[in-house]
Amino acid sequence: MTAVDEVKIGGMGASRRRVEDNRFIRGKGNYVDDIVLPGMLHMEILRSPLAHARIRSIDTSKAWAMPGVRLVLTGETMAARNLAWMPTLSYDTQAVLATDKVRFQGQEVACVIADDPYIAKDACEAIVVDYEPLPVIVNPTQSMAEGAPLIRDDKENQSDNVIYDWEVGDKAGTDRAFAEADLVSKIELHYPRSHPSPIECCGSIADFNRATSKLTVYLTTQAPHIIRAAVALVAELPEQMIRIISPDIGGGFGNKVPVYPGYVASILASILLERPVKWIEDRTGNLISTGFARDVYLQGELALRRDGRILGVRMNTTADHGAFFSDAQPSKFKIGLMHSAFSCYDIPNAHLVARGVYTNKAPGGVAYRCSFRVTEAMFFQERMVHAAADDLGMDQAEFRRVNFVRDDDFPHRTSWGFLTDSGQYGKCLDVGLEAVGYQDFLKEKEEAAKRGRLLGIGISTMTEPLGAGNSREYDILGIKMFDSAELKIHMTGKALLRTGAKSQGQGHETTWAQIVAHELGIPAEDVLVEEGDTDTAPFGMGTYASRSTPVAGAAVAMVSRKIRAKARKIAAHLLEISEEDIEWELGRFYVRSQPDRGVTIQECAVAAYSNMPDGMEPGLENVAYYDPPNLTWPFACYIVTVEVDPQTGVWDVLRMVAVDDCGVRINPMIVEGQIMGGLTEAYAMANMQFITFDDEGNCIGSNFTDYLLPTAWETPGFELHEVVTPCPHHPIGAKGIGECAAVGGPAAFVNAVMDAVKGSGVRNIDMPVLPDRVYEALQTGQDVSGAPPVRMA
């Protein structure tokens, strides 16, 4: 007998086809809107057409009178139950249904619950709201202006529109570095407001059963346990009587982390009516009211030495969070992990000043395919680096290489306090340059320029912190950011695994089983994976910020090891030999001196229920809570080449090369799928995705005709490469990957266009780099800003 073949059992490194696909390809997924409960009613939301207005009165009588209408909720109904406001995951409050005034266009004003969704929608239109318009604020400049109207007059002690001022780093040291610099490179950038827009909108079905006092809520949530805690707090229900079920989710990307008013209203409606109440958001509701992303302004400066070394960095950011600060932030970090910028570069001095403000726009600033603002951080970083290399007249690749943290410098403490632990930055860059044919392209570009053609190349290299915790530094609502896995090995050697994470397309049902296969030698197909039901899954923080593999995935490995430890004792008993004389190979324990004598893990499983040693607890089940010692630090190098048409400003992607080092890959096929998905969003961000507002606070981008998402037609093809530097502290050496490409990618596209138009003297065009902006820049030789000027915080 020998160890089982890991590839055959679908273990680590196998591009195992996905288990979940079996239902999805048959149209048998089970998304929230697919669930029908007996006696279920339907809820619709009436939203504010105005961005800032006092509510004089709401007349719901016509709605109540319509046949089929069961309940109409307004702010007043909510307030009577102390539910008009709810806490956000960023230590702010948010209106569930407006009472005093509306603060953004699309804000929830009333809800109708009716026999079917069409009636509910009709009844919403029959509600008459009398608004008194107020002055509207649509950007930080207006928000911070002298005498600006106070948006959050509901909050005691709030006398202006500033949410927070936050600072990190060594100001004095950084000032000195700038004083000593040969050259200071400055740039102002805007990372525009965007929206994650998973194809499935948000929704809920609340089902309160008076007979059992139990509340079951089916919810499009990436973090069911956090929601359970939030519901317990908001609805003042005992937590054991709340069951949150997150069924199949049609994409999340951060959009499904926050608690939305619709969820809360459907819960109250179900409690009042004692019937299940379904709320399914429509696309416009999704785009104008749920967690948008980004909308951050930067004033950035790099202190440079003539030889290319970066001596210091200054960042000053202003974030527009809309009317309620309602993304999810670790409590210690107000602007999330913005200070993880420049982590791949060895820079002795750094200082960041961050301000967040309220405006009359939809609330949020969610981490869209992102770990708490690293997307903005890495974009700013790579745009600043690109501009600095140009200012120095240095080669883009060389400038990065000179400043990289070297392979033998790990662990490396960044000047903003992060500890990076592994990477081969130079090697990744080399792989990328080689793949794209860097030197040849530079020649081609020169040749093309002679004929009036504008070619450009853009590089973006970055390491980002993925997989929050550790719990010392990371918490949400005070709950530490660990995660969990529970493994039950049945008597026949088959297994059931549950985790506190929640897949929204990442393929956990497939990959978690591969980790168990790797640790225990149980074939992956024998392991059933379940997630998303708070009554059965162990407590976890959910899936976002690329934390599943770094945290929950580690918990899967750790619980498997606990199982193995117990199985070893059983094996010793079965083999009648002491535990010390036993060896493990995949799937099997054997006697060291007699390798032929052994027992399989499956034989140990039977014995755990039928023939355990004296004094041993029966069963082969366990649970592990994993609190990571550090974040994981994947590295990526993205290189894009483009051609810009000077007549129209249109730019085409010629090549897109991605080199990702996310440590050990559990399922390479799935990893590559994640990378390609991220690259597409990077392209979209650079090219088209854009939620903007007019002066009156009207959201221009309230449907997919105005808010453009890339289709198969314009999305470029991708060339993927890999480098593997295992994570030193993760039990299987893996690092996060889901968001890397969306985080590091946008700067590669923008840098490529900037490179192409460099000859015209233009240093920056803000995203999205629309053809008209490029055309304008080429015509005027001036930068094109997508934003109003922002006062320094």
């Binding site: 809107d33 046949p67 009636i119 397309g505 390609m676 991220g678 690259l679 997919f704 198969a712 037609w713």
Partner: protein
């Protein structure tokens, strides 16, 4: 009788004009009494309990609701159920029998052409319409045919491969059939 709303509130019945329609759905004759304004997508999902057809926008942009009407791809969120009266509708549930897989279904699994799976039924139906007309499309033809279907997860590259895989299989090509786990 299959009707969209099992129970109608008393009083509503007189006010709502309804019409009886008959639609061939996945080869089966099905009838329903519907409001004229009812979207075909809603008839399929709520009325006929065929929840494989998804809705992601209601504005003909995302394509998650794509079904075949008389063999042509149609966004069922933007077609009234009454317009389908007397027509032939195929949804993802009609692609293959319960114990079989259509080449497209196999191809999407084999080439990792889906992640969250929400766009997938619409993608496969649009792909079917393409392959029915053009059995061996080029990459550009596939990308163009699917340009009315949005996917937020995959970046499309694997979707294109999935369709090529299916085309090759349907053509009797030497594609390895996908292992079907269940």
């Amino acid at each position: 009788m299959t009707s969209l709303f099992q129970e109608i509130t008393p009083g509503a019945a007189q006010e709502i004009p309804v019409r009886e329609i008959t639609v061939m759905v996945n080869g089966e004759r099905r009838s329903a009494v519907v409001e004229p304004r009812l979207a075909l997508a809603h008839l399929l999902r709520q009325g006929f309990k065929l929840t494989g057809t998804h809705t992601g926008c209601d504005t003909s942009n995302c394509g998650a609701c794509t079904v075949l009407v008389d063999g042509r791809p149609v966004k069922s969120c933007t077609m009234f159920a009454v317009q389908a009266d007397g027509h032939d509708v195929m949804t993802v549930e009609g692609l293959a029998g319960p114990s079989e897989l259509h080449a497209l279904q196999e191809g999407f699994k084999e080439e990792h052409g889906l992640q969250c799976g929400f766009c997938t039924p619409g993608m496969m139906m649009a792909s079917k319409a393409l392959l029915d007309e053009n059995p061996s499309p080029t990459e550009d033809e596939i990308r163009w045919a699917l340009s009315g279907n949005l996917c937020r997860c995959t970046g499309y590259q694997n979707i294109v491969k999935a369709v090529m895989w299916a085309a090759s299989k349907l053509d009797g090509g030497d594609t390895e059939p996908a292992e079907v786990d269940s």
